[in-house]
């Protein structure tokens, strides 16, 4: 069990309660289940890494329990009861300084739990109908929440009374009617204070807490269907959004224009995540497939059929197609050594090649000049050729 879990680079939670791990290099999917019998109560709603070393996964289920799964051992190690199912499903899960756990449920209660006690250390109310809670990767004590008729609020967990930033709704439309708001997903833009959100009214907003403006700094629209998931690629300036019809688009955050669409999904997108270093985006949804697209050419690279509807996705930071694993390590080391040896030889070959190529580079502008002058008189061309031959 431990072997298989170490190989997996993509983790997904399904509606049937099964945690699925996919190994792309081996093109295999593995099911990890807590109990011998499945039940719909265990439907996985959120996933997050338990520690920065990515050796533990935290799985939040519909019945209010948070389970810890160890990727080294390949089994569930502990279960914690973090709330009632009557309050709603988990909408966000995050870890703070290793031992503390932040949970948020649909009714708006955001709690910080410590390892030892069964009572939350901090509790705050983020409004009603919260759809998503996300933690800022730069400042671990800052979280953002948003939901239906509940705008974006950024909270600092060290000062839980009031949110640090509350967003204002858009201006009334041309009929002076109040615009409805429905924040479905958000993300913190790295290297700045800004937050991107996507709404159920097919809008993408960028908020800047450091500016005095509480309304969105940038407004963009995509499609006609609610946007359900959002992710930021490593490059910056772009955002990937997915909607309920299975359309995934890359939007540019400078002007708000659509850069391109990723095709292939047939059902609503439930989870989207971009890889931290590689230009890849993984998507999962109601059509029971995991798809990995490349961001550069927007082509489908991998497609894996996983038999249940998928709710959430989590990528590991290491290379997705990495073989990995204990058994693979020895082999991979040998392969690396060979590759290094080959590369060393190749370097020598390339060095010699470079020296040779310098001469044709000089010749090219000469050839271009000759071609341009060919349009002119033929006699001049012949004479020039003769002269250049003399020079060589």
């Amino acid at each position: 069990m431990g072997d298989t879990s170490r190989l997996c680079s993509v983790w997904l939670g399904s509606e049937t309660g099964i945690l699925k791990g996919v190994s792309l290099s081996r093109k295999q999917a593995f099911n990890f289940c807590n109990t011998s019998h499945l039940s719909r109560d265990q439907e996985v709603r959120t996933l997050c890494w338990g520690d920065p070393a990515e050796s533990e996964l935290l799985v939040g289920s519909v019945d209010g329990t948070v389970k810890t799964f160890s990727t080294e051992k390949g089994a569930f190690t502990e279960t914690r009861r973090c709330g009632d199912p009557s309050e709603g499903c988990f909408t966000g899960l995050a870890t703070l300084d290793g031992s503390a756990l932040i949970t948020c449920v649909e009714c708006g209660t955001l709690r910080v739990w410590r390892e030892d006690s069964s009572e939350p250390v901090t509790e705050l109310d983020a409004g009603k109908n919260v759809c998503r809670m996300r933690q800022s990767p730069a400042h671990r004590h800052k979280v953002a929440t948003g939901g239906k008729e509940n705008g974006l609020k950024i909270w600092d967990l060290e000062k839980p009374e009031k949110p640090v930033f509350t967003s204002k709704n858009l201006r009334d439309d041309w009929l002076d009617l109040r615009r409805p708001q429905w924040v479905r997903d958000m993300a913190f833009i790295p290297d700045s204070d800004k937050v991107v959100t996507c709404t159920g009214y097919h809008q993408v907003h960028v908020f800047d807490p450091s500016s005095p403006q509480r309304r969105p700094v940038l407004e963009a629209e995509y499609g006609e269907y609610p946007l359900t998931a959002l992710s930021l690629p490593a490059g910056g300036n772009t955002v990937v959004v997915g909607n309920t019809h299975g359309q995934i688009a890359l939007l540019d955050l400078r002007k708000g224009l659509v850069r391109g669409c990723l095709k292939g999904l047939a059902g609503g997108v439930r989870g989207l995540q971009c890889h931290p270093s590689q230009p890849l985006v993984a998507s999962c949804g109601l059509d029971r497939f995991l798809r990995i697209h490349s961001l550069e050419d927007r082509k489908l690279q991998h497609k894996v059929y996983l038999k249940s509807r998928l709710n959430c996705i989590l990528l590991s930071s290491r290379d997705l197609e990495d073989v990995g694993g204990a058994k693979g390590k020895g082999g991979s080391q040998e392969v690396k050594e060979e590759e290094e040896g080959e590369e060393g030889e190749e370097d020598e070959v390339w060095d010699t090649m470079e020296r040779l190529e310098e001469k044709p580079k000089r010749k090219n502008p000469e050839e271009e000049e000759e071609e341009e002058e060919e349009d002119g008189e033929e006699q001049k061309k012949k004479s020039k050729k003769k002269r250049k031959k003399g020079q060589d």
């Binding site: 299975g246 095709k263 292939g264 047939a266 609503g268 109601l286 509807r309």
Partner: protein, 358 residues
Amino acid sequence: MDITEVPVSPDKKGKKKKNKKPKKTSVSQEGNGESSGVEKMEEDVKMEKSEAAESAFPPTFSVSEIKNKQRRHLMFMKFKQEKRKQKMQLKKKKKKEREALGDKAPPKEVPKTIENQRVYDETTVDPEDEEVAFDEGTDEFSAYFNGLTNPKVLITTSDRPRGRTVRFCEQLATVIPNAHVYYRRGLALKRVIPQCVARNFTYLMVINEDRKVPNGLVLCHLPDGPTAHFKVSSVRLRKEMRRRGKDPTEHSPEVILNNFSTRLGHSIGRLFAALFPQDPQFVGRQVATFHNQRDFIFFRFHRYIFKNEKKVGIQELGPRFTLKLRSLQKGTFDSKFGEYEWVLKRHEMDACRRKFQL
């Protein structure tokens, strides 16, 4: 005439040099109408004589290079006749060989059909798969399949339906037991659904009409079940059926679901199965068939009678129609804000002729 015929035959073969004499060719074309029969004979003669010369022509010549439509057509007809003749000769030869070999003849080759060549779909359900079995066992239809609820169907149409659609609804109500037809008074479906749930309906069927003909069907499973949207075509009402039997009785029919093999197909199959009561009354000898072929679902309603152990007679009663799935949405009808489990994306999914979704 002989002098003008020389440019005619090389013209047919597409040599452009001879086209420098347009006047003579026009004369010969006028002559074509008058003495076409004669010319044909002469052309045939020329063809036979120049067959040897033809082989000297470049082999990349094709019939489509001839600019004259009549001549091109004639050449093409000849080409096709040649091909057909060759095919018949080949067939005769093969048949003779087969008869000659007798028992040792190799088995007949299976012809390729689109169903044969179907691209293997990875979502095809394996009957022993536990995860899929659990998924199906606990999905929205579990209440029906565990015997806890009985189907009760509400049939309605889009607003202001015309005669054909109204008759179609009435006939559907006779085919589906415990079905009620209601006039849609311009009511919004999102408001109708809570009322249906309160009155214990399990299905809402809305037949959409366009230009006096039914063309769409929205099938919504009621407590909180999936909503399927189909395109309806080829509707034949009872009056238009040939050799039909008497009207269907009140007995619950048996249900046959053919060829729903993928995971999506399974969901749709269960959607149809839950329309009818679980225990069919064999006394009534009626059967409703939903046959899926190439992503089109054909609905037929028959009455059968066993003449003896091996022979059955069937009579088609009731309406017949074909359905094509356009989208499957999770939750009750909410086309704007609902989450779709499957949407037909024509340009992506219909690109390959041998790939089917159901």
